[in-house]
């Protein structure tokens, strides 16, 4: 898992039927100082996150587990929302 900031949303009309109704977000992974780490990614939202929120995401096969796991094509899913920037304890 990694920390990330939701920096935008993606709209896609033509997509795999199992992604219908799922929110697609653009996230930027962050390091311990909450500075960008790596490139922005597209993530499927499983936590109800909004733009600007601090979240954490799961990668790989496990990313499809919050959904109907055999059917949902995702390798990057937002699985939780961090309460605030101050709730990252090394801040």
């Amino acid at each position: 898992m990694q920390l990330a900031r939701v920096i935008g949303t993606v709209v896609a009309t033509m997509k795999n039927p199992s992604l219908v109704g799922r929110k697609l977000m653009i996230i930027q992974s962050l390091n311990k100082d909450l500075a960008p780490q790596g490139k922005p990614l597209v993530a499927v939202d499983a936590a109800g996150a909004g733009v600007g929120e601090l979240v954490f995401w799961c990668r790989g096969k496990e990313a499809s587990f919050p959904f109907k796991r055999e059917d949902t094509p995702t390798d990057c899913t937002i699985v939780g929302i961090i309460d605030s920037d101050q709730h990252v304890s090394c801040q």
């Binding site: 799961c58 587990f65 929302i81 961090i82 709730h87 304890s89």
Partner: protein
């Protein structure tokens, strides 16, 4: 290996590790914990720790990741993180098949390295 080339190698490793997602078993230092109220149900009662990847020499690479704690690790500890979902969710929550990709599975006491293997 000369001093210059080993420094280059360290710089290259740092660059790679900050750019890429590291997989496999890694060494890391625990920085602290993270509080998230709204999260996937399978994360209930698990401690989420923020960790920083380190080299075998103990040097931080700057790559930060989160892992669930399965061994009561605390801030400042050097730990072993497994980055494979099945083992991670089994060790951290007691049940496989959760949306968890990394878990702390050990607290490192000591690392022994051959002198000519250090970079």
């Amino acid at each position: 290996m000369s001093v210059v080339s080993s420094q280059l190698l360290v710089a290259k490793t740092k660059q790679l590790t900050t750019e890429l997602t590291i997989s496999n078993m890694i060494l890391a230092k625990v920085l602290g914990n993270i509080v998230a109220t709204q999260k996937n149900a399978r994360y209930e009662n698990a401690r989420m720790m923020l960790c920083e990847h380190i080299t075998p020499e103990g040097e931080a690479t700057g790559y930060t990741l989160m892992a669930l704690d399965a061994v009561d690790a605390g801030a400042g500890d050097t730990v072993l993180i497994v980055q494979e979902g099945w083992s991670a969710s089994t060790t951290a929550t007691g049940k496989a098949g959760a949306a968890i990709d990394s878990a702390i599975v050990g607290v490192v006491d000591r690392i022994d390295l051959l002198e000519n293997e250090t970079t």
